[in-house]
Every structure is written in C-alpha cells, then in structure tokens.
C-alpha cells in the first residue's frame, strides 16, 4: 500500500488533537488561574527504529529515511503569568511569579493558582469549591468573623493581629505538574517535593487565564490549514491509487 497515505493520516490526527487542546484553552479564557496547554508534535520514528532493528531486512530501505510521520507527543503547560485583574474582595489573592497555593482535596494535597478564597461555615479559609487552603506549615487556616487583610508575603491579619500565613509553594520540576480539573493541579510525591516560594501575593486581585486570543486563533487557523493540507494529500494519493488500479491496466 502507499506509505504516504499513513503519513498524511498521522498529520490529520495530530492536528485534530491540537485543535482539541486549543478549544479547551479558549473555553477556559475566563477561568481564573488557568494555564494554557501547548500541544507538542514530534517526528515519529519508523517502526524499525522503534524496535531497534536494522532497516535493511524487513522494510523498504528507500522509505526508511522518510521517517514515520508526525505524532502528537504531549502537552506542556504554559506557566507564564496571566494578567492581573483587580477586584474589591479582600479574599481574592493573585500570585505574582512562580508559586502555587496548596489545598486539601480529601486526603490529597493539590496545587492551585486560583486564589478565590472564602471562609467556610467553620471559619476555615477555603477555595470557592470548598477545598481548605493551607498555611506555610501545611495546616488549615482558621479565621474569626470580621475583616481580613492579606499582605504581600501572605500574612493574614485581622484587626491588626496576625492570624496566619498563606502558604505559597514552588515545585522542583514544573513539567511534572498535571492538571486535574476544578482549577487544581497534582504533582508526584507532593508532600516531600514542595518548597516555599518567594513569589509575592496581591490581595483584592485575581490572576486571569494566560491564553491570549490572538495566538490561540492563529494556532487554530494554522492547525486547520495543516489538517486540510494533509487531508488533500490523502485524496491525491487515493486518486493515484485509483488511477493505478482502474486506468493503467485498461485495455483498448
């Protein structure tokens, strides 16, 4: 069969997956603390290379240098700072720089950049989804009723008295962060990996999503055209095969 047909099909599939990633970025354009994903492509190695065999025996040596087409190799988080939008809520906190809030999700520790906090009915500081947010010593933060002030270093004061400190942490290798939905991210072996971060906080502000409409739309158009180009290649090769099968051998 025509080898190029498969290469073109890989191109359609990879670009289609890229569109899925962009659609998710755009759907979350208004999600606080959202970090966009980038779809990564890489050249697929040939079957012989993957299996560590010499290409000579069981494959066509002429096709080996072509490679195995394109494959969606992964997604990577774009952790660049999102724009800061001021609010008037003293429990809205934005992180300026690299750092994450630690929250308790059942038994698990999770990380988030969405500093949209509330005081739950027991007086514990929690995210708006109800996950308690932790202080620098990984304990929950209890607040008294009344006005709250959160400083640049995360120190929480009520009526002039310090009542706790918001923990801001960094991770050793941000590529191992995995988004789990609900604005939460997980990290392998999180209890031992977290280090205090020196990122500054800003209260009465929220970090908006870092997906930028122009580049997202450009990527969307780009992937659309690449998808069409690959689809056209499939059609050409199909026509070529059709000629070969139906026309070349025609007699008279």
């Amino acid at each position: 069969m025509n080898y190029g047909l498969y290469l073109s099909a890989m191109g359609v599939l990879a670009n289609s997956q890229r569109q899925d990633v962009i659609a998710n970025n755009l759907a979350n354009a208004e999600t606080v603390g959202f970090k966009k994903d980038l779809a990564l492509f890489q050249e697929q190695r040939t079957e012989a290379q993957l299996r560590g065999r010499s290409p000579s025996r069981d494959s066509n040596p002429l096709l080996e240098p072509l490679g195995g087409g394109l494959i969606a190799s992964g997604t990577t988080l774009d952790l660049s700072q999102g724009p800061i939008e001021t609010t008037s809520n003293p429990l809205d906190v934005a992180i300026m720089g690299e750092g994450y809030f630690a929250v308790r999700n059942g038994q698990n520790l999770m990380l988030t950049r969405a500093g949209r906090f509330q005081v739950d009915r027991n007086g514990v500081l929690a995210t708006d989804s109800g996950h308690p947010v932790l202080n620098e010593k990984m304990a929950t933060i209890a607040l008294a009723p009344g006005a709250v002030n959160i400083g640049k270093d995360g120190i929480i004061t009520q009526e002039g008295k310090t009542v706790g400190r918001l923990g801001v942490f960094s991770v050793p290798n941000s590529r191992l962060l995995a988004k789990r939905g609900a604005n939460l991210m997980s990290y392998p072996d999180i209890e031992r990996s977290l280090k205090p971060s020196d990122a500054q906080l800003r209260s009465e502000a929220l970090e908006q999503a870092n997906c930028e409409p122009t580049s997202e739309l450009a990527a969307l158009m780009d992937s659309q055209r690449q998808l069409e180009a690959n689809a056209n290649m499939i059609r050409y090769q199909d026509q070529m095969l059709s000629r070969l099968v139906n026309d070349v051998a025609k007699i008279g």
Partner: protein, 269 residues
C-alpha cells in the same frame, strides 16, 4: 478527534452565556436598594490523560511531558460580593442603612427554611398595629418584633440601633426596642431568595445576633438607605470580555466543524 473540540467549545459557550445572564441581572439591579452583585466563577473541567508525565518512553527514560486533553470549562459558582453599597439620604425616619457587616432578621413565609429571612434593605414601615415591617415584598415583620405606637412622633434610631419616640402630650422619649443585626461566618454562603431576602444555608453557618457595633457587626444609620453595589463600568467591561470569549469559542466550533467536513469529504468517487 474534532468531536472533543466541538464539545469543549460548547461548554465554553454555555458557561459564558450563563455569565451574561448574571451580568444582565446585576445591571438590571443597578438601582435596587441594598442589592449585592454576584460574580460568576469558572473552573476547568476534567482532563483526559493520554499519557502521564514521567511515564517511560521507548528508550526507558521518563518522558518530560504528559499528554492531557482538557474537556472544557465548568461554572464553579456565583459568588456574592458583599462590598458596602453607597449610602443615600432619604430624610425618612424609618429608613435604616447598615454600615458594615450584618443583616436585619425578618419573618418570611413558613414554607421557606425556618421561616426566617435576612436582608440589608432597611426600608421600614409601620403596619396598622404599629409593628415595624419591611416596605417591600409582603411586608415581612422585623424580628425581634418592635412596636411603635401609631401616634408616635419624632422616631429616632441611634447608631447602636435603639429606637425611641415621643408620645403626644409628653416631653420624654420612650424606648420602643433594640434593632439587632445578624452575622454569619460565611455570608457568601447565603441563598438568594429574591426581593432582597437571603436565607441561611448549610454553607453560611448559624446566624449570630449582635447589637449594632458589637462583635464585628456594623452600625446603623437612620434616614439613609444603602444603594446597590453594582459598578456599571466593571460590569460592562466583564460583559465585553465575556462576549468576545463567546465569539472565540464559536470559532473553535467552526474550526472543528470544518475539520470534520474535510475528513468527511476525503472519500470521493
């Protein structure tokens, strides 16, 4: 495949159009006494993990990035913004504004919760028996009950919420009662009932009655009403952003649709 992109963009369209509903309600209530604006919060929906980061590749080395395809966006909640609204002078003795935290407690329909509602709208009237009731809705009675005789003159309410008046033919002031303010540990967890009435929920915590000015409760101000805390400029900016994001998501739908069309047209005879 492109179906995922279609669905993700659809979640975006749905969430963003709900946010337009919330903004429209805020703007409609820009002149409503003691109205508190709501803010719509979003969160990302779940992710399909095609490959965990750190999983081994063909060369038995941990791959630096995983493959996650997100499935769109979800509404997390609408959050009440309880910021103080502006105070407007009304020159009416039974108009009371709360400066700071707290709600007035009123008796509402028995069918709702424990029959108690909370409001910051202090636009009070006297009913025919002289009881202090709310001007709006069904004339909900203030709790604890306060009675001002119908022939009373010069009704006064001080900052600590003590209501007094002068009876005809007398020179001394008689105390009618004490206004109480109710606080909640998490007032954003209250349920909105409409008509400026909030009711207690599991999330808000139990109500705590205080005299105005005590234990973090605000003070009261006679002859003033609290205006709506909707900031039209802020709402309009959010509206514009929301509309543009809505359009962006419709672009995702179009692109995904074109991709499906391209694939659907591959086979031609």
């Amino acid at each position: 495949m492109a179906i995922t992109a279609l669905n993700s963009a659809a979640t975006g369209l749905r969430a963003l159009s709900t946010r337009i509903d919330v903004i429209a309600n805020n703007l409609a209530n820009a002149e409503t006494t003691a109205f508190k604006r709501s803010r719509m919060n979003f969160e990302d929906l779940m992710y399909v993990t095609l490959k965990e980061p750190g999983s081994n590749n063909n060369a038995n080395e941990p791959s630096p990035a995983g493959t996650f395809v997100g499935l769109g966006v979800k509404i997390s909640n609408t959050q009440l913004d309880l910021e103080q609204g502006p105070l407007e002078n009304t020159n009416r003795p039974l108009d009371v504004a709360i400066q700071g935290n707290g709600f007035f407690r009123v008796k509402i329909m028995d069918s709702v919760g424990d029959g108690t509602g909370y409001t910051r709208n202090g636009n009070f009237f006297q009913n025919r028996d002289g009881d202090v009731v709310l001007g709006m809705g069904d004339g909900y009675r203030l709790l604890p009950k306060i009675n001002i005789p119908t022939d009373a003159r010069e009704v006064g309410i001080n900052q600590e919420g003590v209501i007094d008046y002068i009876r005809p033919g007398q020179n001394t002031r008689t105390i009618a009662g004490q206004l109480k303010l109710t606080n909640f540990i998490n007032p954003q967890g209250l349920k909105l009932l409409g008509g400026s009435i909030y009711v207690q929920t599991e999330a808000s915590g139990p109500p705590v009655d205080n005299k105005p000015g005590e234990n973090g409760a605000g003070t009261v101000l006679q002859s003033f009403l609290e205006g709506s805390n909707v900031d039209p400029v802020k709402e309009l900016v959010t509206l514009i952003k929301t509309q543009r994001s809505f359009e962006l998501n419709s672009q995702s739908i179009q692109t995904a649709d074109q991709a499906l069309q391209t694939i659907g047209n591959l086979r031609r005879f």
